[in-house]
Amino acid sequence: MKTPSLQQKLIRPLPLAIRVHSSYSLWHKYIVSFLLLLASAPIVSAQTSNTQERLENAATLIRENRIAEAEQQLNSILRIAPNEAVALNLLGTVRAQQGRLNEAENLLTRAIHVDPKFVPAHMNLAFLYMLKHAPEKTILELKEVINLEPGNAEANYKLARLLLSQGQIDEAINTIEKAKAEQPSFVALLPLLGEAYLRKSNAEKAEENYLLALAAQKDNADAILGLARVSQMRGDTKTALGYLSRARELAGDSPDLLYKLGVAALGLGVYDEAQSVLEQAVKLKPDEPAYFIALGATWLKKADVFTAEQAFRRALKLQPDNAQGQMYLGYVLYKQKKFGEAKGYFEKTIKTDSSVPESFYYLGLIVQEENEDERAIELFEKAVKMSPLFANAHVALGASYLKLKDYVRAQKELELGAKLNPDDSKAHYQLALLYARLKDQKRVQAEMQIIEKLKALNQSQKGQSDTFVITPATPNPR
């Protein structure tokens, strides 16, 4: 038997206002607190009223941050009933809060083993995997939740965002379309669907969903910012700026909205606007690393590596293990030829999250500068293995082979790099160097002509002063 009163007290409605910033610290806090919410999940009927009371008490203690007492209470329950799923789930949240993630995983897995249909434990495990930077496992758990509760809005939303962030666009669209069918009133899904279609360059479908979101919520900032991007995609900068302006009105003093607006402005290439709103966001909420990262990315786009460096350093002061911050800081230091320090940050980034090919790429560039050619090749090869379409990494790999006089491999990699990104003048320059060394003047001339054309093109496209290959401050799934 469920205990409705207890459920009502302990299970609050899921928050629908989804935060988009990627702050690990806040994200961590958020997940842990979410784990706590779910910790007080339905208590199964087999429990005695005494156990129910003790579990309720433990949940209250956790909520009040009286962790030691809660732990004591839960351990005493588990001594008597080692397979008590709710207790295992609660203790799992305690361990997660204590940062003992492996123990937390063990407890939550045990809870699920005892009760495979225990949704809160699955949800908690999904969050735990997020904390452990294991997106594939998170996806599996969220799918399990949706399998058990097809209408679970939060699980659907988070799964869709995660799939999007992993580049699994079609699956994200399927997930959202299904969730829409289950819960047509869940407006938060619509901008997400718009985002997914935008990523597929389907401006019509994106617009359709953003407009639906606006129809349901006329002040939906995500939808307005999405419409700005749709306009930009269509080359209609004026309309895009109009949407930005509307979003700005809505943003008011909301740091989250200002941040979203800043990221959108950055994406639209309106760097002064991005700088202005992000500085406002930072002022309103100076403890949010993601804001500093986005601000730093804006300075990078404005070709001011020094101010960018300061912003990234602020982000890392707030959250030293922020992989994105480490990578950005590494990048600006690399740009300033401060190779020693840059190297340290890329190595840290890889340690924190070894799934980002760009970290290997930039570390490769640095060791290449230090004449460690073999290691550079290893790192570039890793990057292209992780991301076979990573044009810059192919070019860098080709350049390394060129340096080692392995002209056959050099040519293969450089030509592939140039094919993947025909607008990359570095690829063409390296090819020109290769052909010059092979005494093939005709091909040298051809490559130099391409470089000249690209130069003319770049001169006509102002504002693209930086070519960092990482997209700025990508919102993490929540």
């Binding site: 020094f306 300033q336 004449n371 570095k426 060394r437």
Partner: protein
């Protein structure tokens, strides 16, 4: 990233390789003594003390004519053969866009041997009268008196030294007027015929009517245009015919095949074949590396050598250049200074006509600077070449457009640590905390105390004379090379010396820096060693002179084929 500059190159097939001339200069032996730290500083010699009251007039105007911002240069040279370095300074002058309100003059300052100088310009007859850019001093006719070649926006001037304190303008007779816009000039012997030929860097096609309106919306006033907007011109090579006349061989030598926007130029031998090559910096175009093929022809290989472009394949704003074997591996390395955000490049010679850009600490220090005059020289006499950089942004409005770049910029001093350079500017004197609109820079021992001093030409400002204080705490030997068969400047001579277990080699290059000309003597630093075991001079003619147990801490005169000149020593001042 710099994989471009670190790439390799298929072995370059030289038609003529003079095996006798292959110079694998010795590097530091493992048994070397640690060189004594000299704690060198450069101290400003004020005009009041030196007597150099001349000020550069840059003809600054609201129309922002480009020649206004790129000048000028200066020289250390001994015009009266008294053994003391005199100073020559180049000024602007009348042109199609500028009429001075009062006559402008270049200046020749006679060294009074006591730290002061006297203006002898009018007496010597070297006032110029063109819109001057740079100067190259050398004895082009082998009469043992140093002559002067002045480059200009307009007509260049060749002043022949009459040997009596006066000069004669022989430009037309010599055929080296080279109208247009010339910047740097280099005296060197490209065909090893014992006579000094002349390379003249040409900048853009320019005249008053071509002055484009360069402005921006926020300032609503003109600034100096980027040279990208002007057409390139070919540089010039003049062959010295030996009768006071020169023949323009730009076309037949291949130099004219590469139109550029050239500033700095240095003659050096990058492939150790005994023939002097040319490295030329271009502004907004790829730099040139002209390889001397030995048959009167040059081949431009900058791209394949990896010295033409930035790592991203973009041409940069090359200005000052120099060459030296900074790591003692026997191969000439190259340096080029660029404009802010482009980074300066230290090109390490990989020995197969391929260079890798390895600026290390110089890269971070120069990121936001624009470099002009620069020179590799051994400022502390520890035997290896250090590096002095003179900087300044060409646009006097730059600070209105960015907060990161300044119009006047600091000087920089880098000490050679063996394989790379360390920024020692902060410890090298108060002058390094100041900012200048620096352009030309010449190196010379004006006080004959055995360490190299520095002369800097500032755009629109007084020049800066810096006395080296402390370089001579380490021991040294000064050489004045006097040729009998080789070219009078001994350009291309290779000097090797051994002292205190350290073996060093130095190629006598020509040109280098920006618009400027250096003391022709060579100071060989020996650190704390108290004796020089031997000195060998391999002259461009192929002759070799060996000096055993030469004196230290003094200048000696070495005559080609004869060794040390009797009574040629000059004690340290």
């Amino acid at each position: 990233m710099s994989f471009i500059s670190k790439t390799v190159y298929a072995a370059f097939q030289l038609g003529l390789i003079l095996s006798l001339m292959v110079l694998n200069l010795p590097s530091i032996s493992s048994a070397q003594e640690a060189p004594k730290k000299a704690n060198v500083t450069f101290e400003e010699v004020p005009a009041k003390k030196s007597g150099i009251i001349w000020v550069h007039n840059n003809a600054h105007s609201t129309n922002r004519y480009l020649p206004e911002t790129v000048g000028a240069g200066g020289a250390f040279f001994d015009y009266d053969n008294d053994g003391w370095m005199d100073i020559y300074l180049v000024n602007s002058g009348p042109s199609d866009f500028y009429t001075p309100t009062t006559p402008l003059k270049n200046a020749l300052y006679h060294n009074n041997h006591d730290g002061t100088f006297s203006d002898v310009t009018d007496k010597a007859g070297v006032a110029g009268g063109t819109f001057g850019m740079g100067v190259a001093a050398a004895d082009y006719d082998g009469d043992r008196w140093a002559d002067l070649y002045i480059t200009s926006y307009g007509r260049n001037i060749l002043y022949h030294n009459n040997g009596n304190g006066t000069f004669t303008d022989v430009t037309d007779k010599a055929g080296v007027a080279a109208p247009g816009w010339s910047t740097c000039a280099v005296w060197f012997d490209y065909d090893n015929d014992g006579k000094l030929d002349l390379f003249v860097s040409s900048f853009v096609v320019y005249e008053k009517s071509l002055n484009i309106l360069c402005t921006d919306e926020t300032l609503s006033r003109r600034y100096y245009c980027v040279p990208r907007l002007f057409k390139p011109r070919s540089s010039l090579l003049f062959h010295n015919d030996g009768n006071g006349k020169f023949t323009d061989v730009s076309k037949e030598s291949g130099i004219a095949d590469s139109p550029g926007k050239s500033f700095g130029a240095v003659a050096t031998d990058v492939n150790n074949d005994g023939l002097m090559d040319l490295f030329v910096a271009n502004d907004t175009l790829p730099n040139f590396l002209f390889i001397n093929k030995g048959d009167g022809k040059f081949e431009e290989v900058g791209l394949a050598a990896g010295v033409a472009f930035s790592d991203a394949g973009k041409p940069r704003s090359g200005m000052g250049v120099d060459a030296a074997d900074y790591d003692g591996d026997g191969w000439q390395d190259l340096f080029v200074a660029n404009i802010d955000r482009e980074f300066f490049s230290l090109y390490h010679n990989q020995k197969d006509l391929i260079f890798t850009d390895e600026p290390d600490e110089i890269g971070t220090a120069t990121q936001m600077l624009s470099g002009w005059g620069l020179r590799f020289f051994d400022y502390d006499n520890d035997s290896d070449p250090d590096l002095f950089l003179v900087n300044g942004h060409p646009d006097d409005f730059i600070e209105m457009r960015t907060t990161r770049v300044r119009y006047k910029e600091p000087l920089l001093m880098f000490e050679n640590t063996g394989q790379t350079f360390r920024n020692v500017s902060a410890q090298s004197g108060i002058v390094f905390s100041k900012e200048f609109s620096g352009r030309g820079m010449a190196v010379g021992d004006f006080d004959n105390d055995g360490d190299l001093d520095v002369l800097i030409s500032n755009n629109g400002e007084p020049p800066l004379l810096l006395r080296n204080e402390g370089g001579n705490r380490n021991n040294w030997l000064g050489l004045q090379l006097v040729t009998t068969k080789s070219n009078p400047a001994a350009v291309g001579a290779v000097i090797t010396w051994q002292a205190g277990g350290v073996k060093r080699g130095r190629l006598k290059t020509a040109g280098g820096s920006y618009l400027s000309s250096h003391d022709p003597r060579e100071i060989l630093g020996i650190g704390s060693a108290t004796k020089i075991d031997n000195v060998e001079i391999r002259w461009p003619s192929g002759k070799v002179d060996k000096l055993a147990n030469p004196p230290i801490n003094s200048y000696i005169k070495v005559i080609e084929g004869e060794g040390v000149s009797r009574g040629g020593g000059r004690p340290a001042n």
